[in-house]
C-alpha cells in the first residue's frame, strides 16, 4: 500500500519535535479525524535580505502517511524563502515520497496547510509587532 520511501521516511522522520518560542506556529487537523499537525518555524533573512525558514519542526499525531509527509515537508521547507515555501503543494510532497495512496493524499494537504498557517502566524505577529 505504501511506497518504500514512505515507510523509510516513517521509520526515520526528520525535524520532529518543537521549537521553543517559534516565530510562527501552525496548528492544523482535528483529533477526532485522526490527524493533527503542529508546525513550528524560525524565520531569518538570507544574504539577499529575503525572509527564509531558518528552522522548522513538527509534532504529528497521525498515521504513517501523516508522519512521513511531516518529515518530507519540513525537509523541503528548511532554508527556503517564505515565498517559495508557500508554493510547496501536495503533489510535490507526494512525489518526494514516491507517491501516496489516493486515500492518503489529504495528509500531504494537511502538512502543507500547517506550514502555510505557521507562515501566516509569523506574518500576523510581525504585523502586530510593527
Amino acid at each position: 500500500m505504501y511506497s518504500k520511501k514512505v515507510l523509510e521516511t516513517f521509520r526515520f522522520p526528520k525535524n520532529i519535535g518543537e521549537i521553543k518560542n517559534p516565530d510562527g506556529l501552525g496548528k492544523v487537523g482535528n483529533p477526532t479525524c485522526g490527524d493533527v499537525m503542529w508546525v513550528y518555524i524560525k524565520v531569518n533573512k538570507n544574504k539577499k535580505g529575503q525572509e527564509i525558514i531558518k528552522d522548522i519542526k513538527v509534532k504529528t499525531f497521525g498515521c504513517v502517511a501523516a508522519i512521513s509527509t511531516s518529515s518530507v515537508l519540513t525537509t523541503m521547507a528548511k532554508g527556503m524563502t517564505l515565498e517559495d515555501a508557500l508554493k510547496i503543494d501536495k503533489q510535490k510532497i507526494a512525489k518526494e515520497l514516491g507517491g501516496l495512496p489516493p486515500s492518503k493524499m489529504h495528509c500531504s494537504v494537511l502538512s502543507m496547510e500547517g506550514l502555510r498557517k505557521a507562515i501566516e502566524d509569523y506574518k500576523n505577529k510581525k504585523a502586530s509587532a510593527d
Binding site: F10, R11, G34, D35, V36, C63
Partner: protein
C-alpha cells in the same frame, strides 16, 4: 529478527497436519467430484466424509452443510438469499451495529433495495440487548443476523438466547461464527441456529474455503447459477483439497479447544496487566473471561494513532492490527468501537492483539517490552496530550 504473529483474528497459518491431509487431493485423488469414474467418486467420497464430520461438530445433519469460498460468500448467500427468497413474507431484517463488513454491507445493500433493516445497539462491552432484540421483531421480520463473536473486540453474543427468541417468533436466525468456530462450542440444535457462516482460514485451515450451515427446510435460493452441486445451493467444481483441509482443521481445533482457551486466556490476562501499566491506556470490549473470545485483546491508547503503532510493531517483527480509520481504505474509524460508545478521538488509538496456537509467554513478554517504547515515542512526537 524475532517474528511474533499476534494477528490470528485476521488469518492463521495452515496447520502442517492440515496440509498433510490435503496433499493426496492435489495431484493424486484430484478428480472432479461430479465425474462418474473412480477419480470422481473418490473425490465425492472425500467431500461427503468431510461434510459429515463438519456437520457433526456443530450438531447438524450432513445435508445441511453447503461449501462456499469463505466467510464473505457464506454471509452473502445467507443474507441476500434469505432476503430475496422470503420477501413474500416480509422485508424486515434485524442485525447489529457491530457486524463484520460482509454482513453489514450486505444489509446496507438490501436496505438500498427496499428492505428495512433494524441496526441493534450494543452496550459498552459490545453485547446486544435481548429485550430490544425481541421488541424489534415484527410480523414483517424474516431474519435476525447476530454474529457469535466479534472480530474486533471479542464479545461473545448470547446466541442461544437469541436463537430461542427467533424460534418462538418464527423468524430465521443467522449467525456469523467466522471468529468463534473452533474456539467456542457451537450446537445448532441447542442454540436454535438456522444459518451459520464459517471460514476455514480463521481456524488454521486453508484460505478460499468456508461453509454455510442451512437448516433443513429453510427457504433459500442460490446466489450463483450453474451446475447442480451442493444440493443446488452452490454451483462450481468443488474445492476438494480445501474441503478436506477445512474438515481436518476444524476437528483439530475442536480437540485442542479447551487447552488452547485456557492458555490463551492466561496470556490475554498477562497482556492486559502489562499494558494497563502504561498510562492513558484501556481495554475495549468485555474483560478477559468466558464472555470474550479467548484469543482477542483490544487495547486503547490516548494520543497515538493505531496505524503508526502497527507499523512500528511490525518493524520489530510483531504483527498486530488496529481499528484506526487510517488503516482502512474507507477512512472511517471502526464502526465497532463507535458502537460501544468510544469517543471518536479514542477510536484512532486502538490496537488489536489476537493470539493463537503458536503464541507463547515469551512472545507476550517481547510484545510488551517492545510496545512500551513505541507508545512513548509516538506520544513524544504527538502534539496531543499536552506534554
Amino acid at each position: 529478527m524475532k517474528q511474533v504473529y499476534l494477528d490470528h483474528a485476521a488469518t492463521t497459518p495452515l496447520d502442517k497436519r492440515v496440509l498433510d491431509a490435503m496433499k493426496p487431493y492435489f495431484s493424486e485423488k484430484f478428480g472432479n467430484a461430479s465425474s462418474l469414474h473412480s477419480f470422481g467418486t473418490d473425490a465425492m467420497e472425500a467431500i461427503e466424509k468431510a461434510r459429515e464430520s463438519i456437520a457433526k461438530v456443530i450438531n447438524a445433519k450432513s445435508e445441511e452443510i453447503v461449501f462456499t469460498s469463505g466467510g464473505t460468500e457464506s454471509d452473502n448467500l445467507a443474507l441476500q438469499e434469505i432476503g430475496y427468497s422470503n420477501r413474500g413474507k416480509g422485508n424486515h431484517i434485524i442485525t447489529t451495529k457491530i457486524e463484520h463488513h460482509a454482513v453489514e454491507n450486505t444489509c446496507k445493500f438490501l436496505e438500498k433495495d427496499g428492505f428495512e433493516v433494524t441496526w441493534l445497539d450494543v452496550d459498552k462491552e459490545g453485547f446486544v440487548d435481548l429485550n430490544e432484540l425481541e421488541k424489534s421483531i415484527t410480523g414483517k421480520t424474516i431474519l435476525v443476523s447476530v454474529m457469535h463473536a466479534n472480530n474486533e473486540i471479542g464479545t461473545i453474543e448470547p446466541v442461544a438466547e437469541i436463537g430461542k427468541i427467533c424460534k418462538s417468533k418464527g423468524v430465521y436466525f443467522h449467525t456469523d461464527t467466522v471468529q468463534s468456530l473452533g474456539k467456542e462450542k457451537i450446537d445448532v440444535e441447542a442454540m436454535n441456529i438456522d444459518l451459520l457462516s464459517a471460514s476455514a482460514h480463521k481456524f488454521y485451515g486453508p484460505k478460499g474455503i468456508g461453509f454455510l450451515y442451512v437448516r433443513k427446510g429453510t427457504k433459500i435460493n442460490p446466489l450463483m447459477q450453474g451446475g447442480i452441486h451442493e444440493k443446488g445451493l452452490r454451483p462450481g467444481t468443488e474445492n476438494v483439497p480445501g474441503i478436506v483441509g477445512m474438515e481436518k482443521a476444524l476437528n483439530l481445533a475442536e480437540k485442542e479447544m479447551e487447552k488452547e482457551n485456557i492458555k490463551e486466556r492466561k496470556l490475554a490476562k498477562k497482556i492486559v496487566e502489562g499494558v494497563l501499566k502504561i498510562e492513558n491506556s484501556w481495554i475495549n470490549g468485555p474483560p478477559v473471561g468466558k464472555k470474550r473470545l479467548s484469543n482477542n485483546i483490544n487495547l486503547g491508547f490516548d494520543f497515538v494513532e493505531g496505524e503508526s503503532m502497527v507499523l512500528m510493531l511490525s518493524d520489530k517483527g510483531i504483527a498486530a492490527s488496529t481499528g484506526s480509520a487510517c488503516s482502512t481504505k474507507s477512512l472511517k474509524p471502526s464502526h465497532v468501537l463507535r458502537a460501544i460508545g468510544l469517543q471518536l478521538v479514542k477510536c484512532h488509538g486502538s490496537l488489536r492483539v489476537s493470539l493463537g496456537k503458536g503464541t507463547s509467554a515469551k512472545d507476550i513478554n517481547y510484545f510488551l517490552q517492545e510496545l512500551k517504547p513505541i507508545v512513548k515515542r509516538l506520544r513524544e512526537i504527538s502534539p496531543l496530550g499536552g506534554k
